[in-house]
Amino acid sequence: MKLHPILAALRRHKAGVVLIALQIALTLAIVCNAVFIIGQRIERVNRPTGLDESNLFWISQQWVGAPSADTADGVEKLDAMLREDLVALRNLPGVASVMPINSLPLRQSSWIGSVSLKPRAESGGKGNVRTAYYFADEQVLPTLGVQLVAGRAFNAGDVQHQGFRDNPPRPVVIITQALADKLFPQGNAVGKVIYSDGSSAPSTIIGVVARLQIPDTGSWSRDFAWYSTLVPTRLNANFANYAVRTKPGQLETAMRAVTPLLYKVDPLRVLDDDSVKSFSDIRAKAYRADVGMAVLMGVICLILLAVTAAGIVGLTSFWVGQRHRQIGVRRALGARKVDILRYFQVENLLIAGAGVVIGVLLAVGLNLWLMSHYEMTRIPVLYVLTGVLAMLAIGQAAVFVPARRASNVPPVVATRAV
């Protein structure tokens, strides 16, 4: 098939051609970037925290008029209250393990510090690696369901307790594999010594866990999202948080039993609707904005593609109507149905081809602009290529119906006056 007659015909419909090409270009640019955003968000939401997230729930509560954590005496009293809660929770039917812990992955509230290979490292200086601390007791590994890959777990003898705002030495810690690799690229972190928060007191790494995300998911913490440090310490304050792992299928029963149980231990405390939360709720809340953004982008993409496809159908139908007679003449001169069909398909391919070329430029430009203004990364070529193929396919699909109608124009039309 020769392209010449098609090009000659297109030249007579400059405005229509430009409009369709422009529409395809804009659609491609927006859809590529929107789908890229969706892909990024899905990847973010699906990354594992390192926990065994089923059968895990969280309790946050606050005592009223509790002793001050600023005095040694108050700290002892607070610790006794905390241990009393632990005993009660551990005796709850259906509970597999319980521990006090300051936060959990995705909970956003965190204790961030830094660890260094040298003592008394200055804050913000080189060689400091940012980390999020989890303060818990010897039950931490089974309760979180994180996997120990080297060294040993905490035992009851490792566990200390301290006032919430105190900073005593941390003799032993467990760190994540990611943090171990960062601090000791040669491997073998177990048994090595690190210094936390510019302290001069050494902390010995006794174990390494495979993976444990920090509590924050915001972009500011992206660089150290997997650098967690576990400290065997019960924090004493006028509040205490617990993580509970239940036996399979017992999650809801155990969660319902918690509030009455804790009120029975000590009624002078605050427990509200947000106090007892399953980990799946924590996860849903943490990623709600990401899921929402993905859904919104998805809806907009669907509308865009539908509008563009419908636009192509509409305009091609108009052209078919306009060239009714010419089609009849071609048919009368011996063109087969399939020739007419091909004609419109090739015509669409030419227009869409021009559209996607401009669209690719626009897509990359939009991506660059988003990168300079917002937190975006470079769009992978695969997204753009897929977008190009999808646009061409949509163009062909949209043009098929009017093109088929054109191919059904009988040759006799040529002989009739309009």
Binding site: L19, Q23, I37, Q62, G65, D166, G198, G311, Q322, Y374
Partner: protein, 438 residues
Amino acid sequence: MFGYYLELAIRSLKRSPGLTALMVLAVGFGVAASMTTWSVFRAVSGDPIPWKSAQLFVPQIDNWGPNGRSSDGEPPVAMDYTDAMALMRDHRARRQSAMYQISPSIVPADAGKHPLNVSGHAVYGEFFPMLDVPFKYGSGWSASDDTNRAQVVVISSKLNQKLFGGANSVGQSVNIERRDYRVVGVLDDWNPQPRFYDVVNSGGFSSGTDDVFLPFQTAIQASISNDGNTNCNAVPAESGFVGLQHSACVWIAYMAELDDAAAVTAYREYLDGYARNQQKAGRFGWAPNNRLRDLPAWLSSQRVVPSDTRVSLLVALGLLLVCLVNTVGLLLAKFLRRSGEIGVRRALGAPRSAIYAQFLTEAGIVGVAGGVLGLLLTVVGVASVGWVLPKDIADLARLDVSLLVLTLLVAVVATALAGLYPTWRASQVQPAWQLKSN
């Protein structure tokens, strides 16, 4: 004449219902997507106190030095206790308040009820007039209450409803962390979003309300510790909440009211002078690196508007643009199909302006229909943002008359603009040609 054009337009639109429906749908969806995302963007990027934001300033003092600065040289975003108290003592602005976030528990007088947890702020008395905080009953406290560490409290109307059934509770007492405080004021509905007076601790938007306000020094004395962020460049030398007050950790928000440019310049000089004095005294080992931003600049430097809402608005506007390009194409096809009719009208003496009027009327009708559909879809869209967005932000997106009017206006104006080129092409139709070819 307009009635006639209207009739012509409706007849023409009816003749190709598929094409008409397509245009109306495109305009409707494009406008609705833009307006829904706009309603969210408008809600989060609005000025929370437009009548006064130009007079409210947030000072920042570099008490950490070069190692504690962010990569772009910015000092800490909050203050340590020492600097905040020094600024309060010097009292150089018309009004000012240091503040920190608290989360105390309240024991209801009714013994059968469980204690409840509330959030709030420890502030100075000038906080209330400075921010034009509305009171339902009573008022804030005086400067002497601040210095005397009076046991007084201002509560929200929500907490007043919960504790006192909404009655005037001024003079009543509230048990906070097992101490009694006398209510001096009950706020009217006041929950500015973003929570501009302390974005560092609230993160900008918050689905809860601030229910209690205590005098700053009263709260310090009662050891009601801070509930927000504490950022330290070094581990505090002493332990506990008192140790925090003696440390260089930053946890206190600060706001000052400065009436005019002269006051701003004077305050800036005062801050630099203060930092220089600290340098001389040996507390700071670096030259002053302070900031003094007015509220809008401060909110933008803290990136309070979530970037997702901007990106969504942008993408939705892109969708609207595509829908309009689509409408231009379809209108062009529709109008030029009627070249014969145009030719006849022109030959019978209709001027170009008549053709313009006729086809713009037709475009306008598509715009109005698209706008009405857009209105319905916007209502659905705003109602369902709660499914998609985090609660604290979704709650802010509201339908109001201005949004509805804007929706209709955008639809009609956009469609009329889209109709301009096709109409121009229609008006260029040569009557002789058309008549000949028929």
